[in-house]
């Protein structure tokens, strides 16, 4: 489905995921997709059986190229699970990953309103409207990259600090170990035998 | 460290209760009756702390 953009270059694509029957078994995904078409700047709506699967991702990438999408809304599951997946997906199609927004139709809707198809569908529509509302204002973002100084500081020279410092040194890192007492060893050095093996502490 | 007796009202169930509050305490508040966290600190303690 394609309509002409109504607004200065904004082209939003909405991908409604059935998630097999996980979402479509409760939510009327066809109605949600139809509703999405009425939202401002939405130029393309696609229903997928599984958006996260390779065919689903292909449809996103194709639609981005075909419809010159510059915002993407994936109406599927929680972003806590698949946000990295879809960010990568839109990136592969040449879009900045921060131009993708998700609507959580599964964990927050179909799975928790299983007995009320009408209310779940109405809620799903709102969730898509909300995601489109945010997507229209999304801006490309650049992730900052910071150089890491290749030295570790370990504060404390008890058994823990000694062990951590040795591990880091053994894996080839420079380590600075700081201990406030004249000797390392900490509390453990004061113990006689230690459980459960009953061997000496030092 | 000073402690004062404070009055609270649960905005979920309406339950009002008092608690001794340490000056620098950093404590999550929960309604003793309904477990809600919508706990409003009311203006003045009903009586001063000992």
């Amino acid at each position: 489905m394609t309509t002409e953009s109504t607004n200065g270059g904004l082209r939003v694509g909405v991908f409604v995921c059935d998630c097999g029957s996980n979402i479509a078994g409760v939510v009327d995904c066809a109605a949600v997709a139809e509703y999405a078409k009425t939202l401002p700047d939405v130029v393309c709506v696609v229903r997928n059986r599984y958006t996260c699967a390779e065919p689903g991702q292909n449809e996103i990438r194709q639609a981005i190229r075909q419809h010159h999408l510059n915002r993407v809304v994936v109406a599927s599951c929680t972003p806590r699970q698949h946000e990295p997946t879809f960010r990568q997906c839109v990136l592969e199609a040449g879009l900045n990953p921060y131009l993708m927004e998700m609507a959580n139709l599964r964990e927050h809707c179909s799975w928790v309103h299983q007995a009320d198809r009408a209310a779940a569908t109405a809620k799903a529509m709102d969730l898509v409207a909300s995601a489109v509302g945010k997507a229209r204002l999304l801006q490309p973002q650049e992730e900052m990259s910071v150089q890491v100084t290749r030295t570790a500081l370990v504060i404390g020279g008890g058994v823990t600090g000694i062990e951590a410092a040795l591990e880091l040194a053994e894996s080839g890192h420079k380590v600075v170990l700081v201990e406030k007492q004249p000797s390392i060893g900490g509390i453990m050095a004061q113990l006689d035998k230690t459980y459960p093996t009953m061997d000496c502490s030092i | 460290m000073t402690a004062t007796l404070e009055r609270f009202r649960c905005m979920a169930c309406g339950h009002e209760f008092q608690e001794v509050v340490q000056e620098d305490e950093d404590k999550e508040r929960t309604c003793p009756r309904c477990r809600s966290n919508s706990i409003r600190k009311l203006k003045k303690a009903a009586e001063p702390a000992e």
Partner: protein, 588 residues
Amino acid sequence: MGNFTVTIRKKARYVDPGLCNACAECAKVCPVVTPDEYQMGLSSRRAIYIPFPQAVPSSYVLDMEHCLGNNPVACGKCAEACEKKAISFDDRDQIVTREVGTVVVAIGAEVYDPTEMDDYGYTRFENVITSMEFERLICAGGPTEGHFVRPSDQRQPKRIGFVQCVGSRNPRMGRPWCSNICCMNTVKDTLLLADHYPDTRSVVFYQDIRAFGKSFEDMFQRSKEAGVRYVRGLPGEIHEDPRTHHLIVTVENTTSGKLERHELDMVVLSVGLQPPADLRKISSLLTLSKTSDGFFMEAHPKLRPVDAPTRGVYFAGMCESPKDIKDSVCQAGAAASRAGALLNAGKVTIEAITSRIDEAACTSCGVCVRVCPFGAIQWTKGTPAVVVEAMCAGCGSCAAQCKPGAITMRHFTDEQIVAQVRATLAQRPEEKVFVFACNWCSYAGADMAGISRMQYPASNRVVRTMCSARVSEEMVLEAFRCGAPVVLVSGCHYADCHYINANRQTVKRVQSMWAKLEKAGVRPERLQLEWISAAEGQKFAKVMRQLDELRRTVTPEEIERSRKAFKPKVRRAAAEAATAAPVPGTAT
């Protein structure tokens, strides 16, 4: 993140560890005698000493606090005795600076001092000792060369009592935590005594024996088989027979319900552990946070157990919570591995959700600096505040609190969130409960409700922010302006806040908003606050049910009132302008 400059005070040793061969000639001539800390004060050392034979560095050190003096040199005998000329009274503390990329905090814990528990008579009765003193007394390298004797008469005790939970699991003393190691340490001590002195009789007074680790239960059973008596119940008081210096312990055996009287030669107080005194200082240096017991708080109690909330900082060992050697070593390995991964990567990318300050709009009020839990905002009065991006974690406390609206949270802008509020409430808002949920806990808690298929009414509409502290007054008011009957702000429990303590700002804001709503004639109960953890799907579902009931009590008149009660701020115009003319993205 990734770059720390560390200033270290390298304390003067007055003995060059490169030259010292630990011949001990210096200590032989030192005239100063002072209690030996390593031996828990049970023996003495000199002012020039080696902390213990296996010390690293293997070198003597001069305790200047007790030394008779160096300037003018009043004694100097040690320097004369030293063939290697390793001793220099002119040694001074040095300040050393190091650049590091990651920090592992392993500052340990302190052993509880039972002096304040006078009922046990630790300071009054010589034969009441602590478990740490027991370690020195039974150790071949200890003051008695491993001959286990009691302090009052230097004779080997036959009847020994152990009192558990001294300074642990005692909420009345403000020490409610379990110190983890004391049960097994006592079990170990009883086995040592049974092994070295088969004629001794040990009795252990306890609340619970926590023998939960690998091969611990086996040790506990061995101890019981060795004839050690375990009496469930903690003594109220310990008395001393002044003539024999034997100790009388009266205890209620809570298993039999009977009062028991034990005459013992010696009592060992099994002392607990507490956060070290330095913890506060390290905490403020690295902007770390603590749990209610005062130990360090990890980024996530289950999934990121050695990560500090400050990126690039890791914890290990007892500073996180009391633990035994095995657990300390495990955590040390985990922390080293996490730190090593960061060092190996050589660089880190930061999710582009950080805060930016519009210099032109900033009024230099300094509010953002005060609310930033990470100390990521630099500011001098009179000049615009600046965000250090590498330190910003993106909670949004600053933006929610910025009056002139000079702060933009990238990817979670005011305009974006307001657009979500409006889109969600565009139709039939009176039927909806509007929920702000933080990414880490409440939103995840809602996910958990879904994963667990917990059913609740479909009236709620969730908008995600990174932290509940991101939710500004304007966002809540916008929901009311759009006709929402009920608004919920939800976040992490205090101990779980993923931005150290940003959600305390949420509390402050909601408190002041209740007053504001009330003043405007809007029922303040229509704004609710809940802490819902990522594991609390059940609580999320329950709260949704309650709020659905609440929204049914809100009348159309009330909604009409709250629609009109709050004038939109000027920034709303800016938001609308942004909505009308968005900048296109970067599609190719």
